[in-house]
């Protein structure tokens, strides 16, 4: 029988050879000069049980010698350090990282399944993959996560590299005394859940007490809950410095979605940023909460309140219809054909004079006859100056009033351009921000209520 370490013929599970270990900074230690031994097929990988190249080095004075515990294939599958099995980017346990990035990695854990899988990954990497990139689903998922950045350590934790506790000393029998390289300290409490850790559990991301502790800590971090009222799309931005301008606010917040309106209240050092869509507001809240820093101050982000109850804010552009007004583009807001065409499905000649009242409740208020331009714009004309109750119930009542009043006032307002709900609909506006011609914004906004 061939007994030497290098015999691996007959389609045996391929033993792994490597040139250089994959390690994290903490495991390597603080000394930039390291001497490392390399032993081909020195030990079995703790996960896949294949012989692999073992690297062993001293991570610093008074540290125990560390060696690579898992093979490079296993380490690459999960993008972790070969010795400590913590993520290479964040230094966090596999379970925490997978949960934060929502990676569902189902590695087979038992016997032949595992061997087969590892063998395949090995072949894949050997064939042409870049040796330094993570393979498998972790490689594909590598997104950046703020939560992980927050949970990660900022400086290396060298306490991990300390020697183990001297078990003789614990019993009182250590004869080596001063010279003993093991730690003469109280051992950790055996009842502590952190003391039963298992390398396989830690690797597969299952039942890892350290990960659980970290996740609990993550839960306890301050979070901003979206309010139940789904129509609130405003964010309150507090702790603003005096120097923050509306332009700066827009610049910072436009990336999350289209801004409907920004109101700056300098004397209260706050601002209100309103988005056109609720989802944009939620994204903005998530991305800026506890993170955004303007003019050197970290701004507090909270949800704005429903408009009717807001205090200290001008009610100019944020009048009541911001909640109630149906948004164009939704199924309920299809533009109607012009009045006379309304029921004229077959293009017959007679105009239908009672068109307004016959409008199905779902549709918007009828287009004003006077509005020019395309079909789409007319549908956005609001019953200006009118309290607009939810369209369905109170629809019939205001309608008869609406048509005459709106048709009277709208020609004046519409003289310049078709009504715009949102800045992106403004045909005169080019590009993403309106920073250049600020006057135009307020003009547009102020025009609408009238």
């Amino acid at each position: 029988m061939a007994m030497s370490k290098t015999t691996n013929t007959y389609n045996r599970q391929n033993w792994e050879e490597s040139e250089f270990p994959v390690l994290c900074q903490t495991c390597l230690g603080d000394n930039p000069y390291i001497r490392m031994t390399k032993e081909r097929f020195g030990k079995e990988c703790k996960i896949c049980n294949r012989p692999f190249t073992v690297f062993r080095w001293c991570p610093g004075a008074r540290m125990r010698f560390k060696k690579t515990e898992i093979c490079q294939t296993c380490c690459r599958l999960k993008n972790v350090c070969q010795t400590c099995l913590l993520d290479l980017e964040y230094g966090l346990p596999i379970q925490v990282r997978d949960q934060a990035l929502r990676i569902k990695d189902d590695l087979p854990k038992s016997d032949v399944n595992k061997e087969y899988y590892i063998q395949n990954i090995d072949a894949e990497v050997a064939k042409g993959g870049d040796v330094s990139l993570p393979a498998g689903s972790v490689g594909k998922a590598a997104a950046h996560s703020d939560l992980l950045m927050k949970l990660a350590r900022t400086s290396p934790y060298y306490k991990r590299n300390r020697p183990h506790i001297c078990s003789f000393w614990v019993k009182g029998e250590c004869k080596r005394g001063e010279e003993c390289p093991y730690r003469h300290e109280k051992p950790t409490d055996p009842d502590d859940p952190l003391s039963d850790q298992n390398i396989k559990d830690r690797y597969y991301g299952v039942n890892d007490p350290v990960a659980e502790k970290l996740l609990k800590r993550a839960e306890a971090m301050p979070k901003l809950e979206p309010p139940e009222d789904r129509s609130i799309t405003t964010l309150y931005v507090g702790n603003l410095s005096e120097k923050v301008t509306e332009i700066e606010l827009r610049d910072n917040f436009y990336q999350y979605g289209e801004i409907r309106n920004v109101t700056l209240v300098p004397r209260q050092q706050c601002a209100f940023v309103q988005y056109t869509t609720r989802s944009a507001a939620e994204v903005a809240a998530e991305r800026t909460f506890n993170k955004l820093i303007l003019q050197g101050r970290r701004v507090t982000i909270k949800w704005g309140r429903s408009q009717a109850r807001q205090t200290g804010v001008g009610r100019d552009a944020e009048g009541n219809f911001s909640e109630l007004e149906p948004v164009p583009g939704l199924p309920g807001a299809l533009p109607l054909p012009s009045d006379d065409m309304h029921s004229n499905y077959f293009n017959l000649q007679q105009p239908y004079s009672i068109a307004p009242s016959a409008i199905p409740p779902m549709l918007m208020p009828p287009p004003i006859a006077a509005s020019p331009a395309s079909f789409f714009f007319p549908s956005q004309v609001r019953p200006v100056g009118m309290q607009a109750p939810p369209p369905i119930p109170g629809f019939e009542a205001p309608l008869p009033k609406a048509t005459p009043s709106s048709s009277a006032s709208s020609p004046a307002a519409l003289s310049s351009a078709p009504k715009v709900h949102y800045p992106s609909q403004d045909p005169a506006r080019l590009g993403a921000t309106q920073g250049v011609n600020k006057a135009k914004w307020s003009e547009m906004m102020h025009n609408e209520p009238e």
Binding site: R35, T37, A61, R62, K175, R176, G177, E178, E179
Partner: protein, 144 residues
């Protein structure tokens, strides 16, 4: 029983003076060889052997080179009979190796990185004030 003599000739003149001490040291060695290993580390059981070996060679070296109490003939007789370790004494004659503990500690082939044993590091260079017992012979520092 006395150490077996390989040469047929009688030992030279001063032999009777040194013989009792040598006999004592040999006796100590026999005891060290038969000690039980309980309570000791695996390597620790061998340390007395190296120590006594060093002691015996040191005795003869001292007598000849330092005190000059024995004749050249007797000295060479001891070396020939392997009572003292000639190789070890050869090292003691070199500068820096005067107190060398054993020959294993300077054998670079025995170490991972081709260096000497930790006991060869002078105490001044070994920071942190830590006590070392080298793994080969239990030496606590044989230079500096």
């Amino acid at each position: 029983m006395p150490k077996v003599r390989r040469s047929k000739k009688a030992p030279p003149d001063g032999w009777e003076l040194i013989e009792p001490t040598l006999e004592e040291i040999e006796q100590k060695m026999r005891e060290a060889e038969t000690e039980p290993h309980e309570g000791k580390r695996r390597v620790e059981s061998l340390w007395p052997i190296f120590k006594i070996h060093h002691q015996k060679s040191r005795y003869i070296y001292d007598l000849y080179y330092r005190r000059k109490a024995i004749s050249k003939e007797l000295y060479e007789y001891c070396l020939k009979e392997k009572i003292a370790d000639a190789n070890l004494i050869a090292k003691w004659k070199k500068q820096g190796y005067e107190n060398l503990c054993c020959l294993r500690c300077i054998q670079t082939r025995d170490t991972n990185f081709g260096t000497n044993c930790i006991c060869r590091v002078p105490k001044g260079k070994l920071e942190e004030g830590r006590i070392v017992e080298c793994v080969h012979c239990g030496c606590r520092g044989c230079s500096g």
